[in-house]
């Protein structure tokens, strides 16, 4: 897999690979925010408002993180604020993003080497 980078501008780091729980490569979810908002009118019709921007949102699932990898991601979360994101699996485009979600968990199943492993879901929202 090509590198995926995230971090404050000028301090981007390569993220650990996104893997499923079985440590196989996993896909990242990308979705666009709804371009419209809507309201139901008194007669049952719908009125729509087309928004100016449709920011992207990325869901990165790390199913199998070592403690060091987990610490890197945790540090990014703590840093917070505006960051830059690049997924070279998709394109070389840099996006201005912010971490909008962070759900870490420790994997209870003990690995053969006895070291702790973690999983985490990180969601990114595009700043437009």
């Amino acid at each position: 897999m090509a590198d995926v980078l995230l971090g404050p501008s000028g301090s981007e780091i390569t993220l650990p690979p996104c893997r499923a729980l079985d440590n196989t490569p996993d896909n990242q979810d990308v979705e666009h925010a709804s371009p419209v908002e809507q309201e139901t009118m008194l007669d049952g019709s719908i009125k729509y408002n087309e928004l100016e921007k449709t920011p992207r949102a990325w869901t990165l699932f790390f199913g199998y993180l070592t403690a060091a990898q987990f610490a890197v991601l945790e540090a990014l979360r703590v840093t917070g604020g505006a960051m830059r994101y690049q997924d070279n699996n998709d394109s070389a485009t840099w996006y201005d993003v912010i971490i909008t979600g962070w759900t870490p968990a420790r994997i209870k199943a003990v690995s053969v080497d006895g070291a702790p492993y973690y999983q985490a879901t990180m969601t990114l929202g595009e700043l437009l």
Binding site: M41, D43, K47, Y48, N49, E50, G81
Partner: protein
């Protein structure tokens, strides 16, 4: 509503919108739009909300407010951001403006909705957002307070106060006892009561005996009463004076009464507390009835043996000087009155003099601070009136000893007063000593051994009593020559307020009176006023219109630079109302003041979306709505409700005080008041009261009218609705009229109302509307007998009615074979003979496809007809000839069955259809007839044409055009109507005795005409070209060398300014004008190669080191002046330089005929001899050139 063009109203109701909004913040220089910041631009606005101000349902000012959530993920708005240019953008007080709009036809349109200020920004670190909020321009009004003197409208009149000293009459005190000043006896008089009243020998009061009032029991109030101390007449004034000494105890009082209706009625109270010294009291009273005057000595609370002594009681009639002060015509009554107050300290026991003796008094003092008038007064009671014997002004700011003298008028004790007539708090004067001696005597009479005693200095100020507004204390200070000084210091400022009809602490009326008819102001008779200078300030009202009051408040609050500017900027409707006494309570906020103004005239005030202040009547529903929500589906919510608070069926208004008090006994305390109620409404809804208190209601008529207006507005219940229209940026405002449609019980209603509140969440519009009308929506009868409500705004025409389509759809049944579909959904068998009923109209043939619809024809198809044929009816254009105006109404107007034209043709009485009268002669013309003008010309110009007055023909030999011209030379002379310039100049010279002289270059040497010329060149060349004849003069190639022409013989003695010379020189620059210096003009000597001209000079200078332009220069031998003419010096360019002193005093500098400067100062003396000069210097070791053309000078002979 704001103008929306080119966007149309229906665009806001379209189901698909692209709403946009802006929040701009003013950083002091630019408006920063948070929706487009950075590059590439980002929109940092997360959400925005605003509630604009507007014309609300009541005079309460509806102020706008706003809030917004701002994204701040990169922290650029945070005040601690180290590099962001926006780190100071969010802070309290920033100006903001909000605009909401959308994209229509590909273009973004915005409508500003609010302009105002930012309140406290709140940065939320966790959510990376900033919460902003604030108000519209009304915020400043809310914060602004109308403090004195801005809280009233008027002017101030300043007067010198006039003493109200009166004249006392004979003694009226009737008791021949110890209080008597006339016939002292050892008798306490007729005093009765719980206090023991004893006559006792005590000369301290000034007589042999005094009255002692001794308390017998401790505790509550005890008194001694005398029921007849004098006979008085109702309404008359009296002067009461006596001496008292509180020997023991406190809270002693002497009250003066009269018994009225069996009840003691208080007239005056004397408070007798203080140190155990004798002191004098006096007051002026007015009798309440004719009869006995009574007195009571009273101690509120005390102990056994508490004692008060009284002596020298005197009651005399008194006629005060009731001085009046004339206020101007525009005065509508005093608002605030201040009277200069003396600060004074007195000593009533200096010494007892001998009548008729002259005494000297010296005082050593020093003014420490303060510039107001201060003086030492010597007083004595003369016939019970405190009389000023001598007044010694105290002005020195260094230790000074002043000596004055006075002569006594009675044997009463001499009293002193130190007076600060005007000044401010802490003004201070120090006294080292006061000495009083009889003239010719060395005996010191000043009796006090205190800080001011020359004899026995001590650290106290014995027997001095503070009378008003000061402190008087002893202080160690040797600067005055003794160990101690007495420090006299003001404790308050100069002026005190005098209020209308006010009582003083003794219960006397001490206010003022005003007569609005005569505009005369006066103090109450009981108020004793001293003479003063500029110490009476009467702030009086002048009338103002409510709109002017609003404008002034806006000015004072800082919105505009002046009241006029505020009025010009304001959208207002003139009220036609005048407020006679415009005022507000001190400290009233600007917002509250404007609310009161609005309440007075039932107006509305608000700041518009653009900040413009509006002051207009309450909005009314309009005949054409500002905006229509045409369909039920244009709204997302619709509430319908009543408001209990809206009902007011009992209105009361309390206005200003009635007319100013007519006298001291006029204490009505009543205000203008009006009430109106509607019993029917009370019966229906119970009573709901509305009470208004507003001093701007200043006449009964306005109160009655406003009660009636408000009652009519509010006695009946009203309906209100809350409308929501999402994604709708239509720029509606409070006060606008809107219309909308709702279905109720299967019937559609069109409602109309006035917006009373409005809120915008992003572009989601919510407004509260007062419903003013609700009518059933006009419907259209359908062929099936039903009603179809057309919810569109336009009224449909018959041809536009849709059958088989529309909303809701009319479903048509599918016809079976051999049957016809009917509009009621049934089917009609073609063989059926019966005529179909309503709703059974056949609109489609069986098995023939689409149903036939009534429809409105498309443009261009107008005039088509529905043609019934064997198959389906079809729309077709009628055949030609089948249309037009061939109607009976046109061609057979009398309806007799015969076409009108044919009827005329058949009439035998007519020829060609016309009656004979149609051929009557109507006059005619002939080609050869002279015109009227030609005939008029034959009348000639002189006399009547005849054999002796013939016309002249061309062959007449006398018809020649030769004529001797009349003399007219004067018209060509100077100043003539047809002045010829050359002749003029020549004649003018001759006429004025002026002599012209020329020098010009015809060959390599100059030619002279009337004068000689000297010249000096290192080389020269003669030439003639299109510009004229020239001699190209050259300097030597050494710095400071020159080339020149000048007066013959080098004389500078030809052209003093007194001879009014006019000097002109024509030169042409060379191709090189660097490193040179050129003077042209009239000079007292040969110039040097410097930028300082010769000692006497008027002319031009060009020096590139000073500037690239010609400079005018003058030098009178002492002072050199120069100035930039603004005319640039260019290479190879001809310049006509002229110095014109034609009037002998004014130097006019011309370049190429254009006046470039005028000088009248720092010129050479008129008699100083000057000569003309053109001189070129080289400032480098190089040749420099100048084309010398010609020189002209003229001057008086």
């Amino acid at each position: 509503m704001q103008a929306i063009s080119p966007v149309i109203a229906s665009a806001f109701l379209a189901k698909a919108q692209k709403c946009r909004h802006k929040l701009e913040i003013y950083d002091g220089t630019n408006w920063i739009d948070l929706s487009t910041i950075g590059s590439p631009a980002k929109n940092y606005i997360k959400s925005i909300s605003c509630t604009p101000g507007g014309a609300g349902p009541t005079p309460e000012v509806v102020a706008g407010s706003w809030s917004a959530e701002i994204w701040n993920p990169d922290g650029i708005f945070h005040p601690l951001h180290p590099t962001s240019e926006y780190s100071t953008l969010f802070r309290i007080g920033r100006q903001i403006r909000i605009s909401i709009g959308g994209i229509y036809n590909g273009t973004a349109y915005y409508w500003q909705r609010l302009i105002g200020y930012m309140n406290e920004p709140v940065f939320s670190q966790g959510s990376n957002t900033v919460s902003l909020s604030g108000d519209d321009y009304a915020k400043r009004l809310e914060d602004f307070a109308l403090d004195w003197p801005d809280n009233y409208w008027g002017e101030v009149a300043t007067f010198d106060s006039i003493s109200s000293s009166g004249v006392s009459g004979s003694e009226l005190y009737v008791e021949g006892d110890a209080l008597d000043t006339l016939a002292e006896t050892n008798d306490p008089g007729d005093w009765t009561g719980a206090l023991d009243v004893i006559s006792a020998a005590d000369s301290g009061g000034g007589s042999t005996y005094v009255n002692r009032y001794v308390r017998q029991l401790p505790g509550a109030a005890d008194y001694a009463h005398e029921s007849h101390v004098a006979d008085v007449v109702v309404g008359e004034q009296y002067f009461i004076s006596f001496k008292s000494k509180p020997v023991q105890g406190s809270e002693w009082k002497l009250r003066v009464y009269q018994t009225i209706g069996g009840t003691l009625t208080l007239i005056q109270t004397f408070y007798l507390d203080g140190d155990a010294f004798w002191s004098t009291h006096s007051a002026r009273i007015t009798a309440l009835k004719t009869g006995a005057l009574e007195m009571r000595v009273e101690q509120t609370d005390g102990a056994t043996d508490d004692e008060l002594r009284l002596d020298q009681m005197s009651i005399k009639s008194y006629s005060a000087q009731w001085n009046v002060y004339q206020l101007p015509d525009e005065c509508n009554g005093p608002f605030y009155v201040t009277l200069g107050q003396f600060a004074q300290v007195g000593n009533s026991e200096i010494f007892t003099p001998t009548v008729g003796t002259t005494y000297n008094i010296s005082v050593r003092y020093k003014r420490m601070s303060g510039s107001g008038d201060a003086w030492l007064g010597v007083y004595q009671n003369v016939s019970s009136i405190l009389t000023l014997l001598a007044k010694i002004p105290l002005t020195s700011t260094s230790w000074t000893t002043l000596v004055g003298s006075f002569e006594t008028e009675s044997a009463n004790a001499i009293q002193l007063r130190l007076v600060s007539e005007d000044g401010e708090e802490d003004d201070e004067t120090r006294f080292a000593s006061i000495s009083i001696k009889a003239q010719g005597s060395s005996t010191e009479l000043y009796a006090e051994a205190d800080a001011m005693d020359l004899v026995s200095e001590a650290n106290n100020v014995t027997n001095w009593t503070v009378l008003s507004g000061c402190t008087f204390e002893s202080e160690a200070d040797t600067s005055g020559g003794d160990s101690y000084v007495a420090v006299f210091k003001r404790t308050g400022s100069y002026s005190e307020q005098v209020t209308q009809g006010s009582r003083d602490s003794n219960g006397s009326w001490k206010g003022w009176l005003y007569d609005d008819t005569t505009k005369l102001f006066k103090f109450d008779k009981d108020r004793y006023v001293e003479n003063g200078t500029g110490n009476l300030n009467i702030y009086y009202y002048t009338a103002a219109a409510p709109e002017d009051m609003v404008a002034r408040i806006l000015w004072k609050a800082g919105y505009y630079s002046s009241e006029a500017a505020a009025l010009a900027a304001m959208d207002y409707t003139a009220t036609g109302v005048t407020i006679d006494r415009p005022r507000f309570e001190d400290g009233t906020s600007g917002l509250e003041a404007i609310r009161l103004i609005c309440e007075r005239v039932n107006y509305r005030f608000w700041f518009g979306y653009d900040g413009m202040p509006h002051f207009v009547p309450a909005p009314a529903v309009k005949t054409t709505p500002d905006f229509s929500f045409t369909a039920y589906g244009d709204l997302s919510t619709h509430d319908y409700q009543q408001d209990l608070d809206q009902i007011a069926n009992s209105i009361s208004i309390e206005g200003d005080e009635q007319e100013p008090f007519a006298g001291t006994d006029d204490q009505r305390g009543t205000k203008l008041y009006g009430v109106a109620a509607d019993q029917a409404s009370i019966d229906e809804y119970l009573e709901h009261s509305e009470s208004i208190s507003n001093v701007l209601f200043q006449d009964q008529a306005s109160i009655v009218a406003m009660c009636s207006t408000l009652l009519a507005e509010r006695k009946d219940t009203k309906w209100y609705t809350m409308l929501s229209s999402p994604f709708n940026p239509v720029p509606l405002e409070i006060g606008d009229t809107v219309e909308w449609t709702i279905p109720v019980g299967g019937t559609y209603y069109t409602l109309r109302g006035v917006i009373q509140g409005l809120n915008l969440e992003n572009a989601n519009l919510t407004c509260t509307v007062e419903v003013t009308s609700a009518v059933i929506t006009e419907g259209n009868a359908l062929l099936d007998g039903d009603i179809h409500y057309d919810t569109e705004a336009a009224v449909p025409t018959a041809g536009a009615m849709i059958v088989g389509d529309g909303d809701p759809d009319v479903e048509l049944a599918a016809a079976a074979e051999g049957e016809t579909a009917l509009l009621d959904g049934s089917e009609h068998t073609d063989t059926e003979a019966a005529a179909p009923a309503v709703g059974g109209l056949i609109m489609a043939a069986a098995a023939e496809g689409e149903p036939v619809k009534w429809r409105k024809l498309s443009p261009g198809d107008e005039g088509q007809v529905l043609k019934m044929v064997s198959g389906l009816p079809t729309w077709s254009t009628p055949a030609s000839g089948g249309s037009g105006d061939m109607t009976k109404a046109v061609y057979d107007t009398d309806g007799d069955g015969v076409v009108d034209a044919a009827e005329l043709a058949a009439d035998s009485a007519r020829l060609g259809g016309n009656l004979p009268a149609a051929f009557a002669a109507a006059g005619h013309s002939h080609d050869n007839l002279p015109t009227a003008d030609e005939k008029a010309a034959l009348a000639g110009t002189s006399g009547t044409p005849s054999s002796t007055n013939k016309y002249v023909t061309n062959d007449d030999a006398r018809m020649t055009n030769a004529r001797a011209p009349s003399a007219h030379h004067a018209s060509h002379e100077a100043g003539g109507s047809d002045e010829i310039s050359i002749i003029n100049s020549l004649l003018n010279l001759a006429k004025n005795g002026r002599m012209p002289s020329w020098v010009w270059w015809r060959t390599t040497t100059p030619n002279y005409d009337g004068m000689t010329c000297d010249y000096a060149f290192s080389a020269s060349t003669h030439s003639v070209d299109a510009d004229g004849a020239w001699n190209l003069g050259r300097t030597a190639a050494s710095a400071g060398a020159n080339a020149r022409i000048l007066n013959g013989g080098g004389a500078y003695s030809c052209n003093p300014l007194s001879r009014k010379p006019v000097f002109m020189s024509k030169v042409r620059t060379y191709t090189d004008i660097a490193d040179l210096r050129l003077y042209v003009g009239l000079s007292g000597g040969l110039s040097s190669n410097s930028d300082t001209p010769p000692s006497q000079f008027v002319g031009f200078r060009y020096s590139p080191v000073v500037g690239g332009n010609w400079y005018w220069v003058t030098n009178d031998g002492t002072t050199e002046h120069e100035g930039d003419t603004g005319v640039a010096v260019a290479v190879s360019t001809v310049y006509d330089l002229c110095v014109d002193v034609a009037d002998g005093a004014t130097i006019k500098f011309y370049i190429n005929g254009t006046l470039v400067a005028t000088r009248t100062a720092d010129l050479p003396a008129s008699s100083t001899d000057l000569g003309w000069i053109d001189i070129l210097y080289t400032t480098a070791a190089a040749y420099k050139y100048l084309y010398f053309g010609r020189v002209y000078i003229e001057q008086a002979t």
